[in-house]
Subunit: 155 residues, 2 copies
DNA sequence: TAAGATAGACAACGTCGTTGTCGTTAATAG
DNA sequence: CTATTAACGACAACGACGTTGTCTATCTTA
């Protein structure tokens, strides 16, 4: 029977695994014409989705204030990843939609993540990787897209 | 042969796993007399270690400026987790050391992490958990304590 | 002994989150 | 139909936390 490692290694390895994947994603994105993409952006754009959304809605999805969501949208707008337009049916609202550049970034991200996953499969074995994912699903929340990430780690 | 999930699920599950463990750690710490402990603090105090360190050294370890490290130290000092004293051999330096309260927090954290790990083992199986850890070790860097975390996720 | 390097304090600034306020526009109650 | 209430987005002020730059004191080294 093998010896168990100290419990603190587990969270560190999970975080390091996450970090490695995200870092490699963004290195690849930078090589493919998206040098300004930041870890946060992919999550936010996933939250925006193909339907479009508004600042208030986005804030609720991300768990931040509508003002914070608005500022993030401004940043993405400056980078050319989203655009805003008045909703003709409710002129208070401004719909945020992905631009072709934004869609391109999401498509590339999806492909790059698949490639990175394949690399992990080559290292630890395809079956072990599927087991790893299945195990993580058992101990993590079901709703993958509830990430109140911003400022979560703050001191 | 089972179907592979999309590659983007893997980083999300890793992050969620990390988050779940850290959140539960801090909920437990709060119950045990450390309500002000934040996720960052444990990492910083691990970096300080039992030997003590200085602001410049800590900054290098954490990958931030000495000024940022200094501010973090001030926060920990206010919370009573560390204390500073002049180095008699080099009066420029101020040695940062853990207080008994700081040591207590680290000791409790270690125990709580062990308990959380045991809970995961109960859910997915002890052997599967060991395999999961072994697999993660193969795809993550060896030096666990090189976390240039601060601001890393920033947009 | 003089010159350079290092520790830490202080200030200014940028980014990103927060709350609060306000004007405009929709939805709803009377 | 109108008056009140609710929602959206913009603006301002503030705090937390990172950055760089500067300064003094002290140690190291040529």
């Amino acid at each position: 029977m093998s010896i168990d490692p100290p419990g603190f290694e587990l969270p560190l390895r999970l975080f390091l695994g996450f970090r490695v994947l995200i870092d490699e994603l963004h290195a690849a994105l930078a090589r493919e014409g998206h040098p300004h993409a930041r870890p946060m952006h992919g999550f936010v754009m996933q939250a925006i989705g193909t339907e479009g959304t508004t600042a208030v809605e986005l804030g609720r999805t991300l768990g931040v204030s509508k003002q914070a969501a608005g500022k993030t949208i401004e940043t993405l707008e400056r980078l050319g990843y989203v655009e805003r337009a008045r909703d003709p049916r409710d002129t208070r609202r401004k719909i945020v939609r992905l631009t072709p550049s934004g869609v391109d970034m999401l498509v590339r991200s999806a492909r790059i993540f698949d490639e990175l996953r394949a690399r992990w499969a080559a290292v630890i074995g395809a079956e072990r990787l599927r087991e790893l994912e299945a195990d993580l699903r058992k101990v993590t929340p079901q709703e993958v897209f509830r990430l109140d990430v911003p400022g979560w780690f703050g001191a």
